[in-house]
Symmetry: D5
Subunit: 162 residues, 10 copies
């Protein structure tokens, strides 16, 4: 059994039952919808108690439940560059704005990155008379580049230099 086969099965059941993601996430609970949906689409792991709930909801076997608890080969199945317009717009934001983000984050925080692992994200509908908006709030831990081998006590390695 491959993870993509489990994903296909889950989507078949969702379609047959006529469930929404909202309903599914409420039933499974315990984590942000982006993570729960990501796991059901084969990109994230469900921790044991949530995998159990998901298995009950979808009527999965014990082996399938265990697969949901495994860390998948992330990124599999998303062509890059994305062909789907909705996903492509995010890709374009990275391509066009990436250099400016780099300049501003490094000036504010020093040499390092925003973690994509210690990271969370929320998506909400922002009502707007000119057309509602998608609002996304991301928060990732800043991870400073470590400059090891500093036996001479030079200060501020990897953090913004004062």
């Amino acid at each position: 059994m491959k993870r993509e086969q489990l994903t296909e099965k889950i989507l078949d059941i969702k379609r047959e039952k006529g469930w929404t993601w909202k309903y599914i996430c409420e039933e499974i609970g315990g984590m942000s919808p982006v993570l729960v949906v990501g796991a059901l689409l084969g990109q994230m792991k469900l921790v044991k108690p949530l995998a159990k709930k998901a298995a009950e909801l979808f009527g999965l076997s014990e082996v399938e439940e265990r697969m949901l608890n495994e860390v998948p080969m992330r990124g599999a199945g998303t062509p890059m560059p994305p062909t789907d317009p909705l996903i492509y717009r995010f890709y374009e934001l990275v391509m066009v704005n990436g250099p400016a983000w780099k300049a501003l984050i490094e000036e504010e925080f020093g040499d390092g990155i925003m973690s994509a692992i210690d990271f969370n994200m929320e998506m909400v509908r922002e009502p707007n008379p000119k057309g509602d908006r998608v609002q996304i709030t991301m928060s990732g831990k800043f991870l400073p580049y470590k400059y090891y081998g500093n036996e001479q006590g030079i200060p501020d390695y990897g953090f913004k230099e004062s």
Copy 2:
């Protein structure tokens, strides 16, 4: 003259003067720092009053000022996939979470995309005892796919179906 030559010149002056992006953005003002920095890096256009201020600040010629006011060939100069770790982490977020974002946005809004054009974004430092975080808030207008040719008055085209 190519836009990338102007970008190189601007970066040379910034380095020589020892200016920060913060200082530059305050001097030019009028738009979000992401846009101003993006323009100086050759990815965005500066409207005329801002191009004028930028030209004064950097001591640019009139022709260079006009070039800042032109829409550049966006995306030029950013290799994809990004080789730089800071920019790559955003790319990875799109690749890993793209399918979940698609599922949740389409369930909430119907068939369409989050605009990358009618879009704004703010980045702030989020103090945190375990290590400060980069917080990014994005807001993009939802653009519903238009289903034209609907002479029969079928309701709810391109919006979330009730």
Copy 3:
């Protein structure tokens, strides 16, 4: 079940019945043929009343009908660059004329894009003694780049500057 399997099934039925796309679009109605055919080929969504009609026409199950109502992963299945000569010619038009289109649209409308979402298109046969022509009329909403953060009231952001 994957969308491409549903597409293959629909094409099998069309072939068996000897139907034309014209006949199919008239039966399903309600939207432009490009959209209806696109949906049956797995690139577009059919809204509920049309998915229902399509299901009746092709004798699809309720689950298959629901799948037609889902937003597909657009762009899947079209190799780029296109290998098929008919599709490649459009790709070539973009590659060769893209820079000129960009220059002219930006001069006329300011910084922004022609939407590929709020977009419609019509294709007609243009009789011509030297050989009939394919006439395509496209109309996409112009979306100006938003220059947010404009607290200083600088006019004309994102629109053609006067």
Copy 4:
């Protein structure tokens, strides 16, 4: 001298003079603006009388004038997939709608293509209270696939079969 150097020189002069493409096309005249701009950007050829006018307008040497009259290596300099959002939207239209266009054109015309050579195109602003639209009208000669070797008089080769 390379064509891209001539293009850069022409853009430098346009910027210095503050000319619009509209003005330039009116001065050169004789062909559609898409073609004239395309030629000045290094994607098309200007026939001799127009190359002469362009040379006069931009103060080009005789050798540069001759270069404008040469057929360039088309497509050079446009990265594919396009990184610029304005050009990418057209690319996306081809990728998402290509299969449907193929189905409909082949049903209407038979086996063949829409020429990208015997082709014309017009772009106009379509005023609209919800936001003006870009309207593009394309017309390309349909070229039927020739099925040679037909010594047996089978009718309708390469045209729509009745």
Copy 5:
């Protein structure tokens, strides 16, 4: 059913029967062998009378016969660059000689292309004491680039300028 499955079936029957392409082309007739073989390999369409003959020869069902009459997604299944040495040599000829062909054709005919649609081709064995040769004769209609928008009567657009 996919076209590649029909191709595989046809090749299985050919192998089982021990038929040559020569025999098959004589039985089906009506078009050049390159076209008939191309259609049976899934790259071309067989017009109705030939699809009928092919169906009789291979014992195909009516639905399979109709599929042979459909225009396939051309180019599918040929990796580019070609991995097979026989096909690669043609690819190499285009890569190495392309620029010279372009220079000579444009000098002789003006701005345009040799059609790959209104095109025919013959392949014969050329006996030669040093080793027989493959002789290929191609003939494609020259299609001049149309320079539309010529309201001023400038002559010779798209044809060789005198």
Copy 6:
């Protein structure tokens, strides 16, 4: 000095003098125009007597003359897939017809290839009331795959099996 710099110089002189390829090939003579033009464009070698003539015609230095006599790094400078429509059409012919050519050549000649090295080619204008045609005649030596190690005298290795 790089070969592409020599090519650029030769094209500059050709443009300045207003020479045609026809004139240049007649002056240099001795080989087919496709080869002479290919050499001047940096894809072929000119043997010594022709390199001498070319150097005299273009006023090249002795070192440049020697460079024309060197075998260049063939294929450099032609993007693949070709972006130029004229060259792309040949590429498309290979992609679409490659499998049929392979089937027919192998049936006629046995296992092997048509040489792209012991190869010649002629291009002529084929007058035609419906529009002149480009006629290309290619002739390449058939090279049978050698099946070495045949100590047992099995006949017909590498040639068409009778």
Copy 7:
């Protein structure tokens, strides 16, 4: 049936029987092991007498025997660049030494190539106290580039110039 399915079947039988390639090549005989193994792996053709022997050895059907006698689509199934370290090392040799091989072969032989078709190769174990070595001897016919169109009797076309 596809060639890769036949390859898989042959490998299954080899594994089940516990045969070595050495044993298989001795049983089939008649050609170099590289060719016989290449054919069984789907990259070469077995001439009829050898295909017959292979069919007897592996207990193949008559249709499978005929498939072994067909020229396969060579190169299918080997990713390039090779991911397997053993194959990659050869790829690396070509990449790193290619330019030197080109310089030396052309100086010795003139303009042309070493044939990959009229080519043979032997691999032997070279005992060595520091670790045995793989010795490979290749011999390919030199094929001089033909410079056709030489009506003027210029000597030494395509051979090393004296």
Copy 8:
């Protein structure tokens, strides 16, 4: 000035002076040689005191010293897959062993990654009678995937589940 120009200048001085990296790293000190060399090759940042020392050693201008203190666009200039055999071997280790590393790290640590940012590395020569060895010790902080949105107190998110 571009970072790669500074790198070229530094390498020119190193060559002229006949310095070793060992000498350079001792002179600059303060960080691991991998980091110092990385910075001089344009892949890392030198903190201010080290940039000062480097500038003194190489006789750089103040502006060049500041550039050494900037975070470069990492990864620029290394083709991937690496063409150089020394670098490629590391790439191959990742490609061949990546799946096993993933399985073992995730089993030991839970869902997460080894940081490439909070990371250090030491390289030493390991004397060995059969040939000395390169010994590399890497140590990267394990970063557990954060499963946010856990309002229900489910334990062990992002760490190895007990």
Copy 9:
């Protein structure tokens, strides 16, 4: 049977039994866990005694046991660049640090590479109050580039020059 099918079967059994890799490696023993896991994931070979143990543990057939003893097509199934974040971080380390590793290894050892074949590796958890770390120790034999053809006794070919 393909190796990837055997891998899938082994993973299915592991999941069903609830075994850890630690348990599996202890049962099979005899080699480092990275190698054993690599073999079970289809990237390495298990020598006969270990293949036997693995077959007993997983209840495999004799043919499957033999397949485990075969050298697989290494690298198959790992997309490059890696899409999975855990594997990508190693890829990034190579891309960013590759040039510095090359400089330092070559200075210490001379011209050559660190073998990826005569190579071993250990991974351990490094407890750390700020968060445990993944420690990886690699040791690869240095392989000096051999400069053959040295009949003149020039010393130190391929080793660090003194």
Copy 10:
């Protein structure tokens, strides 16, 4: 100074002097021509005594002599797949024969590779009445995959199993 600039300078001098590679290799001596030519083309290192001789022959500066003694970034400048027919034929040999070479080498030697580092090669002209042949003899040390962690004394790791 970049290595490719030094290569260009060396080729300019070679052309000006009218030297052959044979002459150059005899003058420099000490190593196989493939290595000496490779070094002069920027793919190999010349050890000090040979770099000295090369510098004297070409009249290079001391700094240029040192650059010849550096290990270059190998593989730079050779496009892959190779566009040049002479180099491509070797690439094709790897692609088509790679799987058979792998099967035969592994059967003879066990799990491992033929080194591309401890490797030598000789190229000679093989006179032949049907056309001279290029004969290449390669000899690379076989490097067995090391299966470390073998505390249990299982024999024959990494060597052919008896």
